[in-house]
């Protein structure tokens, strides 16, 4: 009873954390506060993954999104001139025009949510890492390799951009 209640409480805490900080991300005027609020959104999502017993995914979420992408965003904010205290204009001048895509997108999402078949699965306690690894290197080998090629290309491109030019610097 208490355990069930606690589980529920943790779940709802995670939900409120995720959604609440996501709202802060969108509506906060200071861009860096938004970036830091994103931390809690990402952590909340990681917590929800744990509820789905996708532990590897949860840890990856922390490692990649919190450790990598969020840090990158914060660095981007830090290193952009005059961005520390830049306030984002909140008023929009075309509210009615904006309402159309919002309603359209919301309708599509609502339709998808309504028409999808939701399989309620019982959480598995078995390790997921082995299955994940096997599937990545067998069934989903092609998308995996395509993703790694993309990342490699990005890496090489970044190095190329960051390198000093020959005329600037010759040794």
């Amino acid at each position: 009873m208490i355990l069930h209640f606690l589980t529920q409480a943790v779940f709802w805490f995670l939900v409120i954390l995720t959604v609440g900080s996501a709202i802060v991300v969108v509506f906060n005027k200071r861009i860096l506060h938004s970036a830091f609020a994103l931390l809690f959104t990402l952590c909340g999502v990681a917590g929800l993954y744990v509820f789905l017993s996708a532990d590897f995914l949860a840890a990856s979420q922390m490692l990649v999104y919190v450790g990598g992408i969020l840090t990158l965003i914060i660095f981007g904010v830090f290193l952009t001139a005059r961005m520390y205290n830049m306030s984002i204009p909140e008023q929009t001048h075309q509210r009615f025009l904006a309402l159309l895509p919002v309603l359209g997108l919301g309708g599509i999402i609502f339709y998808v949510l309504n028409s999808a078949e939701w399989h309620l699965i019982t959480p598995m306690v078995a390790p997921t890492t082995e299955n994940l690894g096997k599937m990545l290197l067998t069934t989903y080998l092609v998308p995996f390799e395509v993703a790694s090629m993309l990342l490699l290309a990005a890496l090489i491109g970044a190095i190329r951009l960051a390198r000093p030019r020959k005329e600037d610097h010759d040794d």
Binding site: L6, F36, L63, G67, T71, F78, Y84
Partner: protein
């Protein structure tokens, strides 16, 4: 009287968490004392002597009480919310690592099957906390310290992860308990001595890179007092600063404990006949020895420059880790 049976797990968890927090605080306190003694003796002096009876052992207690009752300054120009939040975030990041440390076969917070991966993941919380502290202080030194710290921790996460993959590959699991169980029966079974010299190189790379992870000398650029006052915690005083300090020593324990777990046989004794000494003592002993080596290194080596730091990471540790990984992978495959 309600039946305690269903809640036993819960109660044990709560007790364990409280115990870990206590252990972390006590360890951090006496690690500061040990650090000052080690520094003293390396420099032919004594370190704390007068406070408390034997060799100034009450020194950390006096420091802790003083920090607790010190004025808590929040600078007027600081970003107050983030300024208050940052120490907790750093502390939580450090504490979360303790959840998977196997003090003994059944004395572990949670034997996750992704244990090693989990530890690497939660350290990213520390990075965000440090960035937050540096920015919220509204101080250029804090800012530089935070950016250096983030750059260094993210860079060094890669050699750390690659070196940790070697024992993971050899054990075929990421669960801490299983990794340790694979090293049972004498020190020649420890992963640091198997597949010589690859795993030894992996251990050395892990240990050095973990120094950078926890901002210890010779990689203490983020808090370099000769150039950046005190780095990201320049503006922190009293108990908030103490939390950063606690987190730093907690991190030292975590990285040393992981090294002890995956390379040095965890709670197993070096010789089978010494197994009568309980596991937690071996585990904490090995960890404490590695913490001692960290201090020893700190008082031996000067601080590196930023470019040297990055050179060591990207041009030495990274290629060696990759080569190491490949060779150990071959070894594992060929051995079957």
């Amino acid at each position: 009287m309600i039946a305690l049976e269903p809640y036993l797990d819960l109660i044990i968890s709560v007790v364990y968490v409280v115990g870990i927090v206590l252990f972390l605080s006590l360890f951090a306190l006496f690690a500061t004392w040990l650090e000052r003694k080690v520094a003293g003796h390396i420099q032919d002096r004594l370190g704390p002597m007068e406070t408390g009876g034997w060799h100034g052992w009450l020194q950390p207690i006096a420091d802790a009480i003083k920090l607790l009752i010190k004025e808590d300054i929040i600078p007027a120009a600081a970003d107050k919310k983030l300024f208050k939040l940052a120490p907790y975030l750093v502390f939580i990041g450090s504490l979360a690592g303790f959840a998977v440390l196997p003090f003994a076969a059944n004395l572990i917070g949670s034997d996750l099957n992704i244990g090693v991966y989990y530890v690497i993941a939660v350290t990213s919380l520390v990075v965000i906390g440090i960035l937050m502290a540096g920015w919220a202080s509204n101080n250029k030194w804090s800012m530089y310290g935070a950016m250096r710290s983030a750059a260094q921790m993210i860079s060094y996460e890669i050699p750390v992860a690659l070196s940790l993959l070697i024992p993971v590959m050899m054990a075929g699991t990421m669960s801490m308990v299983e990794i340790v169980d694979n090293q049972a029966g004498g020190f020649w079974n420890w992963y640091v001595f198997r597949t010589m010299p690859f795993s030894l190189i992996a251990f050395v790379i892990y240990f050095w890179a973990s120094l950078a992870e926890v901002n210890r000398a010779p990689f203490d650029l983020p808090e370099a007092e000769s150039e950046l006052v005190a780095g990201y915690f320049t503006e922190y005083s009293g108990i908030r600063w103490a939390m950063f300090f606690l987190a730093e020593y907690g991190d030292m324990f975590v990285v040393s404990a992981i090294a002890a777990t995956v390379f040095l046989g965890g709670w197993y004794a070096p010789f089978p006949f010494l197994d009568i000494i309980p596991g937690p003592i071996w585990f904490i002993g090995k960890t404490a020895f590695l913490v001692f080596v960290q201090m020893w290194l700190r008082w031996t080596l000067p601080r590196l420059r930023v470019d040297q730091l990055m050179y060591v990471c990207w041009k030495i540790f990274l290629p060696f880790s990759f080569a190491n990984l490949l060779l150990v992978g071959l070894w594992v495959v060929l051995k079957g």
